[in-house]
């Protein structure tokens, strides 16, 4: 068989890359392009007619102050959540790689919240904050104590808290892999060179875990920016719409207010913001990255 012919090479490419490419095209490219097309229409999400309106939806999106407030709120939520998720995940990873007894049990235990869906997790914590916390705090205080979900700051705190609870275990696994990729001989060399444990961590271990930091921060930023499920089940945007995140605003615009084209345009802007922040972080983080 002549392996240098064009038809042979084409068959090879189709056989190996074909199924994946077709699947990717069908479930990613086509919906994305169709979604992009819908941003130029005033479709209500139900009607068979999709009138073309040009850039009207983008103009409306930029004039929608509630959207930008929700986006700003999402940014604040993301900053706090990303920091706390990563700090906690790193600390947990350090704990479960330090040779502590039962470390495999702890690894599995810390990962479990990630296995519970965001909706279920939100309802569980809603029960905890609205019922368990209120009952306990009231008993201790000797009077009625309000649920933290009923105050503006409290709702935001609860959202951040539950997100940290949900994602820290997942990010921990990436940090665990990072810790394990730093060879023992490097840590020992640092000890012999004169490092205290904290100096060895700062000068050797952390710089060599750069790729873990880049991955975890990227994942947590992208997940936090598009948070919806926990937002819906835990606060539903309350109190008084002060915990409505960007994704919830997009959903409401598209499906509750039947402005699918506008919602789609706002979703695209959210995607671009999320992509710019995430990719910038990856580009900066990847500079100077080395294999451990």
């Amino acid at each position: 068989m002549n392996r240098n012919t064009f038809s042979y090479k084409l068959k090879q490419v189709l056989m190996f890359a074909g199924p994946g490419t077709i699947l990717f095209f069908c479930v990613v490219v086509v919906p994305f392009v169709y979604g992009l097309y819908l941003t130029f229409t005033s479709w209500d999400g139900v009607s068979p007619n999709k009138p073309f309106v040009g850039f009207e939806n983008y103009v409306a999106a930029f004039q929608d102050s509630a959207y930008w407030i929700a986006l700003g709120r999402t940014a604040i939520y993301s900053i706090f959540a990303v920091v706390f998720i990563n700090v906690l995940a790193f600390a947990l990873a350090y704990l479960v790689t330090s040779g502590v007894k039962g470390q495999n049990f702890f690894r599995a235990g810390f990962f479990v919240p990630n296995l519970i869906g965001g909706i279920v997790l939100g309802y569980i914590w809603k029960f905890v904050f609205n019922r368990a916390y209120v009952a306990l705090a009231s008993a201790i205080a000797g009077g009625q104590v309000a649920s933290p979900l009923s105050t503006t700051g409290g709702a935001m705190f609860c959202l951040i808290f539950v997100s940290v609870w949900q994602y820290a275990g997942y990010m921990m696994l990436i940090y665990v892999a990072g810790f394990m990729s730093v060879s023992d001989s490097l840590k020992e060399a640092a000890m012999i060179d004169g490092c205290t444990p904290s100096q060895a961590m700062r000068n050797v271990t952390i710089p060599l875990m750069r790729s873990s930091f880049v991955q975890c921060i990227f994942l947590s930023i992208t997940r936090c920016f598009v948070v919806y499920d926990v937002n819906l089940s835990l606060t539903k945007g309350e109190p008084f719409g002060t915990s409505v995140m960007a994704a919830m605003h997009v959903y409401n615009t598209a499906f509750t207010y039947k402005k699918y084209g506008l919602g789609q345009a706002e979703a695209l802007i959210l995607f671009l913001v999320c992509a710019i922040v995430g990719v910038t972080q990856v580009v900066i983080g990847k500079k100077g990255e080395v294999e451990a």
Binding site: S183, S185, L186, E188, A189, A190, M191, I192, D193, G194, C195, T196, Q199, N203, V204, P207, L208, R210, G288, V290, E291, A292
Partner: protein, 369 residues
């Protein structure tokens, strides 16, 4: 530089595994000590106990008379070259070499001067701004050495530093290390499983097996006067030939019957075999002490066996044959015209013959370590 003292050192892991048994060693200033032995013999564990990377289960370890058992590695004033080099991949060669001094808050100008000086010695000046990834194996090895030298520690510890290099580079680096030892006059403890490295580098060699020290002495002593069968077999390449030999007394003469060849022993060897008459001992003869015996029958004891394999190595050749059911090797000059299928006549240099007790495997000739 420093003297080291290891007294009755034991290493027992939490799972009960006894890695090192009653290790005793006095290391003088400027000595080049080699720990050698097969994998799992405890040599690296002992080195790591000296470094402070492993706890000492029992016994005392002293540097310059100061007990070091509970002293942190950073406070022992030692430097270590690892098998994997353990260079920090995110730092340049300059930063790698100066890292320990930086931690000790040495002024940057002084660090730079010292790094430059050592880089010059090791021919690393061109690579100071590169990262380890951009260096060859030999260059990385030199950086690892440089990192240790810059610190001017009391003791250098080296854990199989050449084992990741190819054969040619290993020989080159071996001579570099020997030169460095001469030049710096440092106390070095060097771990290897390669007996050639041990023989060429060490002022004294510690031979270990199963966590036990077998013999401690100079390379020459270990080669000529091995105290037991293990040391005799481990030191020297190709390894010593071992043959069962029955001791026979005929009149005043003592003979060894090796595979049907009666060999009359010289007086000193015969003396060592008193009480072994009629018993079987192990006779050991190194391949280089088996000579082409043709025409030497009058001056040497000779044995005959058909040559089974001939390996030409350039200046010399190895001849393989079977004697008394045991595979034997002779190391002869490459121009010796003995080939596969020919009947080889081998002359034994009886002055070099080693004798071992078959039960205890201890030498019958040399009692001292």
């Amino acid at each position: 530089m420093a003297s080291l003292s290891l007294k009755h050192i034991e290493k027992i892991y939490e799972n009960g595994y006894h890695a090192v048994h009653d290790f005793n060693l006095e290391v003088e200033d400027k000595e080049f000590i080699i720990f050698v032995g097969p994998s799992g013999c405890g040599k690296s564990t002992t080195l790591r106990m000296i470094a402070g990377l492993e706890d000492i289960s029992e016994g005392e370890f002293l540097i310059d008379g100061v007990k070091m058992n509970d002293v942190e590695p950073k406070d022992r004033d030692i430097a270590m070259v690892f098998q994997s080099y353990a260079l920090y991949p995110h730092m340049t060669v300059r930063d790698n070499m100066g890292f320990a001094l930086k931690l000790r808050k040495v002024p940057q100008a002084e660090i730079d001067a010292k790094v430059d000086e050592v880089a010059k010695i090791l021919d690393l000046e061109k690579f100071l701004d590169r990262k380890p990834k951009a260096l060859s194996g030999g260059q990385r090895q030199r950086v690892a050495m440089g990192r240790a030298i810059v610190r001017q520690p009391k003791v250098f510890l080296m854990d199989e530093p050449l084992s990741n290099l190819d054969a040619k580079l290993r020989v080159q680096m071996r001579t570099e290390i020997a030169k460095l030892h001469e030049r710096l006059g440092t106390t070095i403890i060097y771990v290897t499983h390669d007996q050639t490295e041990a023989m060429t580098l060490g002022t004294r060699i510690v031979v270990m097996k199963d966590g036990l020290v077998q013999q401690i002495n100079s390379p020459e002593h270990l080669y000529n006067k091995p105290c037991n069968l293990f040391v005799a077999g481990f030191i020297g390449s190709p390894q010593m030939n071992f043959l069962d030999a029955v001791v026979e007394k005929k009149g005043n003469d003592t003979f060894l019957d090796i595979a049907g060849f009666p060999i009359k022993l010289p007086a000193d060897k015969a003396e060592a075999l008193k009480g072994y008459e009629g018993k079987t001992v192990i006779a050991g003869i190194r391949p280089e002490h088996l000579l082409d015996g043709r025409g030497k029958e009058k001056d040497f004891v000779t044995i005959k066996a058909p040559i089974e394999v001939r390996e030409l190595l350039g200046a010399e050749a190895y001849l393989y044959f079977t004697l008394g059911g045991k595979q034997c090797t002779a190391r002869v000059a490459s121009d010796v015209d003995l080939y596969v299928g020919m009947e080889g006549t081998m002359a034994l240099d009886l002055n070099k013959l080693q004798l071992f007790d078959k039960e205890t495997e201890q030498s019958l000739l040399w009692k001292e370590w």
